[in-house]
């Protein structure tokens, strides 16, 4: 019984999809709403605005791939579905960034962790960014709708061993750990979420909001890059795009309203290429990453970290036990382990690396997501343009962040020994496998924390078009509309004035749900709910 493919079925029903293998789009297009991107923010926006009876067009740089294409192979998934083949890097190459670039955006390839925006984060925004209406109670109904729409709820299956080791180690140390809600329906527990869900269980934008919008007559341009906005008299007059293929022709899109949802890094870059107004120097600044450090350990028993739901247990102990604006705190989670990402992340070479690679089935990995953006010494990074117009994030790993890296590596090593590790290998170029907590602790206290010695990765890009209660505090107003351009909204993770402090997909769904409902009301006069 083959798995149905809702995308191929929709195409057969006559969805309006063009670009790449789906045929040349017209050179000029007029619509009510032009949306750049097709990820979390774009999907929710397209669903709500199409439901309001508006003619919606989505422009996606990446390809339209679906369950029939998702063969659970990294060598196919990374080039097809990720920005820069899953090797996007910050300017000094010290941080590798995983970000989606396909229909569905990062929601197609994320690991399904679904957290509401933490109250401490919202309180900080209210206090420091003039976002009075962003209280926990204000947003709760919008989160609740997103949870219903995307089947977000407790994951009732047992965690895989990689996650259960986090649970057991935390319990040994007396640290709180809990289960992660997931956006899945009928999940097969394959563990291949990062390569696209082959069974359509993950309730990504690819199988939920975007099909809904397409069924209502929305149009989708794929393999089409949004190059720049054309401004006239302080408004966007057109969006200029180009096919990504060798003979990509320019496409001119004229809309009543434009929604930028290309993801942090790409959204600010599009505004930079368009020379959008930026009177307060906020554009592309305060871009956050949740910098991630990793600790590998080898257990006596098989872990097989490639099997089962990739993320099902977390600990917020190192976030909740200290002030949000103190030394940088971190969230502990476990990552899925697959050959390519494991081989390129495992440090060193020769016999020592070979042994670490042979230990793959016994390897338990933890990661710590550092909560950046809440302290004066954590200003994040800045998006710049290269000479070819492509974006590059300059994110300096300063002493404030690196201090958090050291503390996080220490916490993870201690937890892994508590969970029964034979040895622990902090992912750092100067680290060795340590066979005791005492040895690991001593080594980590002495180890220099520096860019390109401490291995840092990121899967969460946030900020760069931050919300602000006044024009001097942000790029976008509390309703998501650009402070200087009133027919342009930003609806993606670039809105966040700080990092979230949790995997951000549900923060994008919930907050954009509210912004898109406001936009639907002002453009169509209609009250629309996501669920």
């Amino acid at each position: 019984m083959p798995v149905p493919d809702p995308i191929r079925e929709g195409l057969a029903r006559g969805w309006r999809v063009s670009g790449g293998p789906h045929g040349q789009p017209p050179r000029r297009i007029a619509c009510d709403i032009a949306i750049v991107g097709s990820g979390a923010g774009a999907g929710v926006t397209a669903d709500i605005l199409s439901r309001a009876g508006l003619q919606v067009l989505l422009v996606e740089e990446g390809p339209l791939r679906s369950s029939s294409d998702f063969r659970q192979l990294e060598s196919e998934a990374y080039p097809a579905l990720y920005q820069e083949s899953a090797a996007r890097k910050t300017r000094d190459k010290a941080i590798t960034i995983l970000q989606g670039r396909c229909v569905g955006g990062s929601t197609t390839v994320n690991w399904t962790s679904s957290f509401r925006t933490p109250p401490a984060t919202l309180t900080h925004w209210q206090q420091h960014f003039g976002l009075a209406g962003f209280g926990n109670d204000d947003l709760a109904p919008y989160f609740e709708q997103a949870e219903r729409r995307l089947s977000i709820g407790p994951w009732l299956a047992a965690p895989n061993e990689n996650n259960d080791l986090l649970r057991r180690g935390a319990a040994k140390l007396g640290i709180a750990a809990a289960a992660i809600p997931r956006n899945v329906k009928g999940c097969w527990n394959l563990g291949s979420c990062g390569m696209g869900c082959p069974t359509n269980a993950k309730q990504s934008m690819l199988v939920t909001t975007i099909p809904a919008a397409l069924d209502r007559g929305a149009s989708l341009l794929v393999e089409t890059r949004a190059e720049r906005f054309e401004f006239a008299n302080g408004r966007v007059r057109a969006l200029l795009c180009r096919g990504t293929g060798p003979d990509g022709a320019e496409i001119r899109i004229e809309a009543r309203h434009y929604v930028l949802a290309g993801g942090a890094i790409n959204s600010p870059a599009l505004l930079l290429r368009s020379q959008a107004p930026d009177p307060h120097g906020r554009l592309g600044r305060r871009t956050f990453l949740h910098p991630v450090v990793i600790s590998a350990s080898v257990m006596p028993q098989q872990v097989e970290g490639w099997k089962g739901a990739p993320q099902s247990i977390y600990s917020d102990h190192f976030l909740e036990t200290q002030p949000v604006d103190g030394p940088i705190g971190y969230k502990l989670e476990a990552p899925p382990l697959h050959p390519l990402i494991f081989a390129s992340t495992t440090t060193g070479m020769g016999q020592q690396q070979a042994q670490a690679l042979r230990d793959f089935p016994f390897t338990h990995a933890l990661l710590a997501l550092l909560r950046d953006g809440f302290h004066p010494q954590s200003e994040g990074g800045t998006v710049h343009l290269r000479s070819d117009g492509s974006p590059e994030l300059d994110y300096p790993l300063n002493d404030f962040v690196l201090d958090g890296c050291r503390r996080a590596l220490l916490s993870m090593a201690e937890l892994q020994f508590a969970a029964g590790a034979r040895h622990v290998l902090p992912v750092h170029e100067l680290a060795q496998p340590y066979t005791s907590w005492a040895a690991a602790r001593q080594a980590l206290h002495a180890m220099p924390m520096q860019p390109l010695l401490t291995k840092v990765v990121s899967a969460h890009v946030m900020g760069g078009c931050g919300l602000g209660g006044t024009a001097s505090l942000g790029v976008t107003r509390p309703d998501g509309i650009h402070w200087q351009v009133d027919n342009l909204s930003v609806h993606d993770g670039s809105l966040f004035p700080t990092s979230i402090g949790a995997n951000p997909q549900l923060s994008v769904y919930g907050i954009v749900n509210r912004l898109a409902q406001g936009l639907a009301k002002s453009l169509s006069g209609r009250d629309i709910s996501l669920a």
């Binding site: 016999q351 089935p361 390109l452």
Partner: protein, 168 residues
């Protein structure tokens, strides 16, 4: 223009001066048509043999086959990189392909095809922990390229004990 993009690689003036062959490197790119140039292949094979020592098969014939597979898959990976990353990689390989660049950036005296595995490993280890950011960047770029390319073929997964994906 070429010169400016060259400097964007992060090359300090001292390194450019130390590498008298800089100008020569500019006319011998490390990549041609988005693939490893003929001149880059022995170098990538030597780097691959050093990084994957202990993973590659021991028997000479099988080892040679594994390394040629690595080079083919390296080309496949390079083809998926965006233009700016290809350009940087091309410059890096061009630089490492010159004797002056090999000595200055890698610290390796012997030409790539003649260098012993342990000499290449020692040179890479120096790059890995160098105080010069550029050398660390180059090491990590090479390390990740080799690991990612080699294990992109299911035939290599046995060493990892990875059974491959569950059939759907």
């Amino acid at each position: 223009m070429r010169r400016r993009s060259w400097l964007k690689l992060g090359l300090g003036a001292a390194v450019v001066l130390a590498v008298g062959g800089g100008a020569a490197a500019l006319v011998t790119p490390g990549l041609r048509d988005g693939k490893l140039a003929a001149e880059s292949k022995p170098m990538m094979a030597a780097i691959g043999a050093a990084i994957l020592d202990g993973v590659l098969p021991q028997a000479p014939a099988e080892r040679a086959t594994a390394l040629s597979g690595l080079l083919a898959r390296t080309d496949a990976v390079i083809a998926t990189l965006p233009p700016h990353a290809q350009a940087e990689l091309s410059q890096l390989l061009a630089l490492l392909g010159t004797a002056a660049g090999r000595r200055a950036l890698v610290g390796l005296d012997a030409p790539w095809p003649d260098a012993a595995v342990q000499d290449v490993q020692a040179a890479l280890q120096d790059m890995r922990v160098s105080s010069l950011l550029l050398r660390r960047q180059a090491y990590q770029g090479l390390h990740d390229l080799v690991g990612g390319a080699y294990f992109s073929d299911a035939g290599t997964w046995q060493v990892l004990g990875y059974p491959g994906p569950v059939a759907v």
